[in-house]
Symmetry: C2
């Protein structure tokens, strides 16, 4: 039986590259996408395109109304998404921007853990990274390590001694390095979407933090950015 892993797939550049890395390591991949009330729900369609293109074993889309718990511009249709921030502002230490969704990665990993336990998966892959990121607390190595420790106590593994690894292979890479890695693994980044506030399906605003980091990444990597901004 091939070794299995659950992959958190948002349809963005990072989770798509993570998928390609996990696949290159020989994992049979079960992708989980959560429609959690994000304004940019078109990323779910991007996730479907990516899952189909990469030929993953399964792609499950789960609905969960995190918007009802509040606390984020990303799940509030009336909030303003920050635009035109400089790269220095985006990466400022101690700044947690309004697009942070409270405990989102904890919720996503918890759901991935539930599925991983059912599937008998060895690992959960997620595409968080610290450099060229938005300063979200739940994208750091300490968080990933703490969740892995939790997972050892939270499932049948606590009884059987088996464990589920939490893998974040991009965590110390720059956006440019992630893009180069993805290109080397054959990813068509035109399938992916990063924008927090897309003006239309398969278009990106070009001005939110996610677009700013994506543009910088392609420029630094010397790779043509396939995103349609407008």
């Amino acid at each position: 039986m091939p070794k299995r892993a659950v992959l958190l797939l948002s349809g963005g550049l990072d989770s798509t590259t993570t998928a390609a890395i996990a696949r290159s390591e020989g994992y049979e991949l079960y992708a989980l996408t959560v429609r959690y009330g994000q304004r940019h729900a078109s990323e779910v369609e991007a996730a479907r395109r990516v899952a189909a293109a990469l030929g993953l074993a399964a792609h499950h889309v789960l609905d969960l109304d995190l918007a009802s718990l509040g606390g984020s511009a990303l799940t509030d249709a009336h909030a303003t998404i920050p635009k035109d921030r400089s790269l220095d502002e985006i990466g400022a230490p101690g700044d947690v921007p309004s697009t942070y969704v409270p405990a989102r990665n904890t919720v996503l990993l918890a759901l991935a853990l539930a599925w991983a336990e059912t599937l008998g998966a060895e690992a959960i892959f997620l595409g968080v990274n610290v450099l060229d990121a938005s300063g979200y607390p739940d994208c750091r190595a300490e968080f990933v390590a703490a969740f892995e420790a939790l997972a050892r106590t939270a499932t049948r593994a606590a009884v059987t001694g088996a464990s589920i690894a939490i893998r974040a292979p991009l965590i110390t890479l720059t956006k440019a390095e992630i893009i180069r890695r993805g290109v080397a693994l054959g990813i068509d980044f035109g399938l992916t979407e990063s924008c927090y506030d897309p003006p239309a399906a398969q278009f990106a605003c070009g001005r939110c933090d996610a677009c700013a980091l994506r543009r910088k990444g392609f420029a630094e990597a010397g790779v043509v950015d396939p995103t349609r901004y407008g």
Copy 2:
């Protein structure tokens, strides 16, 4: 401003007693109930009754299709719920019964954490207990401690230094002690439901693990069991 806490409220005996304890400590309580695809969804109605009776600040019911991730008799309408097991069988070390829902308490705590962060709550209360319980791995003190450690890294607390306590005041109590505590705090246990396989609304089967533990608890506590078995 009163100190706030999020409470995971299933509508059962344990979470209801936990609510009364948290209230007695002066917390303003925000109760979260998750309709996760459990067969015994009538427990959601029990949670509504309890929230109303205790006068909680808010009660939020969230839908999440954990059944679609599989792995449990409790979310599978075609599975058989174990019945007529002896108390020795129910508590046997190393036994994780088929009613265990993979990573359920991790998912529930993750959702509670999201809400707690938004509310500025100091604590999350949950009614897990180890004695007179079903042997679920995510009801142990190690799990609760690991989640509290995770919470410190998972939210804005990682930046601000604030933290959210994970409180499980029943964890070392027997079912009889929990019932006596609840009675002392004025709880009407007739509002609560524990049964995994209720034959009708507000009736209990009397034969599943949850009913067996509940019956034993009332008998040992010397308290009349208000449950309608049949």
